[in-house]
């Protein structure tokens, strides 16, 4: 394969990962505040369908993207309301919403199937696009892909380098302590659930108006990405940069499957398409295994040298969830 083709392929990976980056970082922000929004998969499908419909009807890409974000925010608001105000299980509500939004997307999207709609054009950055290697990789993308780059850095800086980010971490780790220090825990959780939901909602039009333009009902090929985004959130250890790396790795593996397909005649393409998913679980167990008791016990029995080096490897992979993740907070 020539270098040019390789660069085009990798640039395509960066673009194709943009929707997953949006969803993953949105979910990372939500979970950092201690809330699990399990509705991601359905939200992406519903916002993909609705924003495509709106963009077709109005001819406006901007309205399409806003529709997607609005739907994501509303679904997240339902999860938050059920969880904080009605004290119902976050996981249950999120799961029901993920199924219901998917079915809503298929039901209401019926008239839009196969229509041709607008598609976000590529927008090369002047001068920067001519830099060798970096130009074709990073600076001949569309606006969304640039936005995804900015979001990765921005979300990381927000969480780890600002005061509000510090408050966010404290709400997720020690809500009671944060409350005593004067933070409105539930109000912040509402806020981050809705903001995170809006970002997840942006993933929908990022698919239907750009990466996989159009709406094809059940064969749109979008079902499943939301679950992957949830897995990558964990893989990313609730850190936007590591999460983005997970998203790129996932899309890269899918692309690799497509490229290698002609060389592997015995393997049907459907299998290569899902091959990255099992790799994800493997990654998940590597991320988590350092936290389990039996590993610690086994390690304790090993000679010092070995224990230290294994411990170092496990620690570098390990990620602990925000301590209050999934646990509702009551001030009284």
């Amino acid at each position: 394969m020539s270098i040019d083709l390789l660069l085009i392929g990798l640039a395509g990976v960066l673009a194709a990962a943009a929707p997953i980056v949006f969803a993953t970082i949105g979910e990372t922000l939500t979970e950092r505040s201690g809330v699990i929004n399990l509705s991601v998969n359905g939200t992406i499908l519903l916002s993909a369908m609705a924003s495509f419909g709106v963009a077709v009807a109005t001819g406006s890409l901007l309205l399409g993207f806003l529709t997607g974000m609005f739907i994501g925010a509303v679904v997240a608001l339902v999860v938050a309301g059920f969880s904080f105000s009605l004290k119902q299980s976050q996981v249950a509500v999120g799961f029901v919403l993920t199924l219901m939004c998917r079915d809503l997307a298929y039901f209401l999207g019926n008239p839009f199937i196969g229509l041709s709609g607008p598609r976000l054009p590529a927008l090369a950055v002047p001068f920067l696009k001519d830099i060798p290697v970096l130009g074709p990789l990073f600076f001949r993308q569309d606006l969304l892909t640039y936005l995804s780059f900015v979001l990765i850095i921005g979300a990381w800086a927000w969480i780890f380098r600002t005061r509000p980010g510090l408050s966010l971490i404290s709400v997720g780790e020690r809500p009671a302590a944060a409350y005593v220090r004067g933070l409105q825990v539930n109000r912040m959780r509402y806020l981050y659930t809705i903001v995170g939901g809006a970002l997840v909602g942006l993933a929908g039009p990022a698919f239907s108006l750009s990466v996989k333009a159009g709406w094809k009902g059940t064969i749109s090929g979008l079902d499943g990405y939301g679950w992957i985004a949830l897995a990558i959130t964990i893989f990313g250890g609730w850190n936007p940069i590591r999460a983005a790396f997970g998203a790129y790795l996932f899309v890269f593996l899918q692309w690799l499957g497509l490229v290698l397909q002609p060389n592997l005649p015995g393997v049907p393409s459907q299998v290569l398409q899902v091959a990255p998913f099992p790799l994800m679980i493997l990654a998940l167990s590597l991320v988590n295994i350092g936290n389990t008791e039996w590993v610690e016990r086994t390690l304790a029995g090993l000679p010092d040298e070995v224990r230290r080096s294994i411990g170092r490897v496990l620690r570098s992979l390990r990620a602990s969830p925000p301590a209050s993740l999934g646990t509702p907070f009551e001030s009284e």
């Binding site: 009605l86 996981v91 029901v96 199924l99 998913f277 998940l284 167990s285």
Partner: protein, 351 residues
């Protein structure tokens, strides 16, 4: 405001059903469809004739089997989202066993029995994997289960297109249909097999007795309520959790085996038909208690079968069933939340 004591249960559920219907009617109007006609099609499409009712039961059988299993994992406080993969593995193991018996001279009864047992084993193994990932890998069962679902789909598709593919014409339509004598016998002229119904009733009865009438069920619920406390009281929590996974997977695997031996008579890509996820919703709707589960499962199965009429008659997508099912669970949760809030508030003002 204080609610009268008797008004809590049934009346509030009716409110939830009404709200869910209202929501679904709104969705129908949004799609420009005639709501009453759509509901009429669903009712006549599911309960309009004896044949239709038996079609509902064909769907009811795997749904009850899967939901029975889920009641066990829910009792242990586990969210076994991997049930879809467990159903798929059950179907794969059953198909594999039937293919092995094709060239043998085993009597069909033995072959079918072996296939169902293999399906049960396949589902149990897949569930045990999710359990081991949780207990020894620190992987939350929701994400381990989801990952295993994808692996099960990949395995299934690989078998259908690869080693078990129809020679020359391997396609999404599935493997070569199995000969008639390797199917669970069905009622004359109908798709329903009484043996499958018997299996579902048996599976449900087993879970009902286990949860309501045994010491095991009691301790399992203790693990679900507070695993730490149960452990301190001497319940081997890890073993109970793994056992709950295995039981649930076995029942899911039985559902998959039924899909092969009684419904499709071959392996198809979407062999689980989403009954695992649907079962999770049924379990939520009955508040994780067994008593009303078969009735609610019948209702959900009827919605699934009835909505098949929608694309045929009204050019609507059949996913309306899922919208109504989701709305039902959501509004039941909402009404329950509001009730708890109202019940709490008078106490608060008194203090």
């Amino acid at each position: 405001m204080r609610l009268p004591a008797g008004s809590s249960g049934a009346a509030l559920r009716l409110v939830a059903v009404f709200l869910a219907l209202l929501f679904t009617t709104g969705v129908l109007l949004l799609a420009g469809a005639p709501p009453l006609e759509a509901y009429r099609q669903i009712v006549t499409g599911s309960l309009g004739s004896v044949k239709k009712i038996t079609d509902v039961l064909v769907t009811w059988v795997p749904l009850v089997l899967a939901t029975s299993g889920l009641l066990v994992t829910f009792a242990a406080g586990l969210w076994n989202i991997g049930i879809e993969g467990q159903i798929t593995l059950g179907a794969i193991f059953a198909t594999g066993t039937l293919r092995l018996t094709l060239d043998s001279s085993l009597p069909p009864v033995v072959a079918i029995g072996a296939a169902i047992l293999a399906g049960i084993a396949g589902g149990a193994v897949w569930a045990l994997l999710a359990g081991l990932l949780k207990v020894y890998g620190g992987v939350n069962e929701i994400f381990g289960g989801l990952g295993l679902n994808f692996v099960a789909v990949a395995l299934n598709v690989w078998l259908i297109f690869g080693p078990w593919g129809r020679p020359g014409v391997a396609s999404m339509s599935g493997t070569e249909p199995l000969p008639d004598f390797l199917s669970l016998p069905s009622l004359a002229g109908l798709r329903l097999s009484p043996w499958a119904v018997l299996l579902a009733v048996g599976g449900f009865a087993l879970v009902f007795l286990l949860l309501q009438g045994t010491y095991f069920g009691l301790r399992l619920r203790a693990v679900g309520k507070n695993a730490r406390a149960a452990f301190l009281l001497g319940v081997p929590t890890v073993r109970y959790m793994l056992l709950a996974f295995v039981l649930c997977g076995a029942l899911g695997g039985a559902a998959g085996a039924v899909q092969v031996t009684a419904v499709y008579h071959r392996l198809i890509p979407s062999i689980s038909s989403g009954y695992g996820y649907l079962g999770l919703m049924v379990a939520m709707l009955v508040n994780y208690q067994p008593l009303w589960m078969p009735a609610v499962a019948f209702f959900f199965a009827a919605l699934n079968i009835g909505s098949i009429q929608l694309p045929i008659v009204l050019k609507l997508d059949s996913s309306l069933a899922g919208v109504l099912q989701g709305a039902l669970v959501l509004f039941v949760l909402a009404v329950e939340g509001v009730r708890q809030r109202l019940r709490r508030s008078p106490v608060k003002t008194a203090e």
